[in-house]
Symmetry: none
Subunit: 289 residues, 2 copies
DNA sequence: TATACGCTGTAACAAAAGCTACAGAATTGG
DNA sequence: CCAATTCTGTAGCTTTTGTTACAGCGTATA
């Protein structure tokens, strides 16, 4: 029904039938296209040196209901132009027999990923990578009910890359003993998305009190731990599901792993090779007779 | 006098001192940045699910006189971005002499996701969802060294949605006892990506012999288990890193969770509600009236 | 020169946007 | 548990915006 119209083309097409005043308006619109048209009608009329009704008349001539509709079209164009190239993946092959649910889901994930990347402060990423790269630091990780898997995944890799990495036990009642080891050299990596968990907040506070560096992975709204964390990564987690998606968190985790590993390749290499050897020599599981 | 302020940075800087409602607004603003903020205050408030005064309060917190001033800043940013399309995403390298490693990584992930979706047969997806949805079946999950976390993540959700879900212990030497329970009604979900593990293959064969349905999540090349698996999902895992990326696998997992949950909402609902009651977690988000 | 007609601005007005004050709700701290 | 504090929405208000009606102006044509 209402397909997107490119205002610039509409002006081009009608250029012949435009009156002098119309032209002054369209000049203004095209000069800083399409953003100029996103100001108020008064400002535009002013900038063009015409009256506001003239602007409305132009909008009508271009086929819009009124000025706000013209503005909507311009806003859409601005949005489309600004969207990162990375977002272009959103096009979907039509012929695929996917259920619309799957399609919507996947599209939401793409959306979340680009928004998360967009929102991530490069400096934060860099600082986190630097902290993780510091061999003198001890690293502790834990997460909430769901995000525990993310912590686990991160731990899995970190622990291979560098020494001094610990995944906290799942039960909060044994956390205090880990706290003993958390001094100014410690780093506590926490995962806390909505349905924020009190235990995690308490742990964070205690660790902070002992001087640990807190790195938090949370959602777009931010766990209460944000207030005391040294570095915060906000990931978009909403998808059309009754569950949240932690894929954006995973992206940052994997990117961090890649970053840390590449910064200290030599050191990590030895550890990995040693590990490979050990895995080869322990084969416990045997086929049963 | 009026130096241009980058709204995104202002939000980033203040992120800790923002209230939940503020965050919902900033979330909307950042999602389609900066164009989303060029709509009327009413529309924005609506989209964020908050009242208009909240939007004004956020604008003030960010240091603006009122909403129109915030909007002016956003408009300037939009204009600037459109004028220099090349410099758009390049805050990455410029910032600190950072290599565009992160960007390359992210782009590889996007490619992997699209390719994985492309390659995934909708019928396979459907069949897997159907199997998972069958309450009479018992479900067992396990993965390899790295993919164990993925199995864990899947388990976490499945176990909440439906009964009869078991995550195999990490050590292969206790696997045989699980095999006792794997009959024709059993489903074994395996994760095996390159550096394919022999133990997993053996487990798969034994389970198959006992009549279990095998669902395999593997990489683009395919674990040897592919030959005997009933359903196989191939995910693209290569990224510019010395590690592989399991994000594409996660996407399919999450999509399956969403699918299964929505197919049997009633049954799952009770379980989840019961669980919610058991967990005492902070309630941050209010339901909209 | 008269007059018809399109172009444009002025002025008045309805709609909406933006803002303020206040009170109820939620959260925090004792 | 209650008091203090913070957060947030409602209702009402002012301002601005978008719109309409109309009248003046200029030009073209008879």
């Amino acid at each position: 029904m209402k397909q997107p119209r490119i205002v610039k083309d509409l002006i081009q097409d009608q250029t012949a039938s435009l009156t002098p005043a119309d032209r002054q308006v369209s000049d203004v619109l095209l000069r800083d296209y399409p953003v100029a048209g996103l100001k108020s009608i008064t400002k535009i009329a002013d900038a063009a040196g015409v009256s506001t009704p003239t602007v409305i008349r132009l909008a009508r001539k271009l086929g819009f209901e009124g000025f706000p509709e013209l503005q909507d079209a311009l806003r859409d164009e601005a949005s489309a132009r600004i969207k990162q190239p990375i977002r272009k993946h959103e096009r979907w092959p039509e012929e695929r027999g996917d259920s619309p649910r799957f399609r919507d889901f996947a599209e939401a994930v793409f959306d979340n990923l680009s928004a998360t990347i967009d929102r991530l402060d490069p400096a934060t990423f860099d600082k986190i990578a630097r902290v993780l790269n510091d061999r003198r630091r001890r690293i502790f990780l834990t997460g909430g009910r769901i995000t525990r898997s993310n912590a686990d995944y991160f731990y899995n890799h970190l622990q291979i890359i560098r020494p001094g990495v610990t995944l906290l036990s799942q039960s909060p009642n044994v956390w205090p003993q880990y706290l003993l080891d958390m001094n100014g050299r410690a780093v506590l990596i926490l995962f806390d998305v909505r349905r924020y968990e009190r235990d995690l907040a308490r742990l964070a506070q205690l660790a902070k009190d002992r001087g640990a560096v807190i790195i938090l992975f949370t959602d777009q709204w931010g766990s209460p731990i944000s207030k005391i964390a040294d570095h915060v990564v906000n990931a978009m987690i909403e998808v059309p599901s009754s569950w949240d998606s932690t894929i954006a968190i995973n992206l940052i985790i994997e990117a961090l792993i890649a970053e840390v590993q590449s910064r200290r390749w030599d050191a990590a290499k030895d550890r990995i090779e040693a590990l490979e050897d050990m895995f080869k020599s322990t084969r416990i599981f045997r086929k049963k007779p």
